[in-house]
């Protein structure tokens, strides 16, 4: 089971230009967003113990900067709280985009405590028809209760050592 939860918030820095200090609003807004997203994702998927993979994302409206989305998802005020609530330890993979309302985003996820676990590389699509408005940001948290269905492409422990040299050599 995969879930994506999204909050549509006013961009606190819209129209403020690249000199705006992003840290102050990030420190109060990002935890508030994280709390509402995590509450829903935990309820939707049945608690942290059910969750095996996670990811995050942001879609910035057209008058904002990609950096504004980053300020909401790429700081400890969001990432650390997601990791703590979902009981993970990995870095959280992400996608970000800027666009008009209805812009879709494919949100990547990987294993919450062993990011290199290949079976858990997966994505979830999200699209909100009327968001983001130009001065809004969509902030997304995503999680999955397991690997891809029928994951069967091996893992780092089962891979052969592949190199150009070896491939070209084998064809000679």
């Amino acid at each position: 089971m995969r879930a994506a939860t999204a909050a549509v918030v006013a961009n606190p820095w819209a129209g403020r230009g690249p000199d705006a200090d992003l840290s102050v609003a990030s420190a109060w807004l990002a935890p508030a967003i994280a709390a509402s997203l995590l509450d829903r994702i935990l309820r939707g998927l049945g608690g942290a113990e059910s969750i095996e993979a996670f990811g995050k994302g942001a879609i910035v409206g057209t008058t904002g900067e990609i950096e504004h989305g980053g300020a909401l998802i790429h700081t400890p005020y969001f990432g650390n709280l997601v990791r703590e609530s979902l009981e993970g330890s990995s870095i959280i993979c992400f996608a970000d985009s800027r666009g008009a309302a209805g812009q879709p985003l494919v949100v990547p996820m990987w294993h919450k405590s062993a990011a290199a676990t290949r079976s858990h590389y997966q994505t979830v699509d999200i699209r909100i028809p009327d968001a983001p408005r130009p001065d809004e940001i969509v902030v997304i948290a995503a999680a999955s209760t397991g690997p891809r269905p029928h994951a069967r492409i091996g893992d780092r422990t089962t891979d052969e050592a592949v190199s150009w040299n070896k491939l070209i050599g084998a064809n000679r």
């Binding site: 939707g44 879709p104 699509d125």
Partner: protein, 183 residues
């Protein structure tokens, strides 16, 4: 009935027109992506056996899920059938335009009116809007609303998306005069 997957959407509006909406206006959608029971067959004149074998089961599957997703009493409701490119719109209509399908939702939601519907054919990722109306009086203007849905990988050409939608209230900040005031 072969179900490939089930998608749940919960839309919560806290602010509309710049004013707070309290409690948040909630709309839930649950969609099942099923194999088109008539897929791969030449024109089927009599759809009744496929209806009999599937419509009630799909209604029974979806009704409790959408009420659970909404998390409170249903005030408005609607339904959808979105047919993959190899099927006929009639195949989707066959599954949702029967009492065997709709009565599960109607009973669970304590509703009496006909379920407003969208029927459409399209590729995977097609967008569709599910209309919702008040569950006991389809003339209640405050409850006329719709919700847009898109599932990136459905329907496959041989599939049908069957969906139910439920709202816990009318439109956020609804303030149109009732129909009766114009009569």
């Amino acid at each position: 009935m072969n179900v490939r997957k089930i998608v749940t959407i919960v839309d919560e509006t806290m602010l509309e027109g710049g004013r707070a909406v309290s409690p948040a206006a909630r709309v839930a959608v649950v969609a099942a992506i099923i194999e088109n029971p008539w897929d791969g067959q030449p024109f089927v004149e009599d759809l009744s056996s496929g209806i009999r074998d599937n419509a009630s089961d799909i209604g029974a599957l979806l009704a409790p899920k959408v009420i659970d997703a909404l998390g409170g009493p249903v005030e408005a409701y609607g339904k959808a059938a979105i047919v993959g490119l190899d099927g006929e719109i009639e195949h989707g209509s066959a599954l949702i335009h029967t009492l065997q399908f709709g009565d599960h939702f109607r009973k669970a939601a304590e509703a009496t009116t006909l379920l407003p519907a969208v029927e459409k054919r399209g590729p995977a990722g097609v967008t569709f809007d599910i209309p919702l109306k008040h569950k006991t009086d389809a003339t209640v203007r405050s409850h006329h609303q719709s919700i847009e849905v898109r599932i990136a990988d459905a329907p496959h050409p041989g599939e049908i998306i069957i969906a139910l939608a439920a709202a816990s209230q009318g439109r956020p900040q609804a303030r149109l005069a009732p129909l009766s005031s114009e009569q």
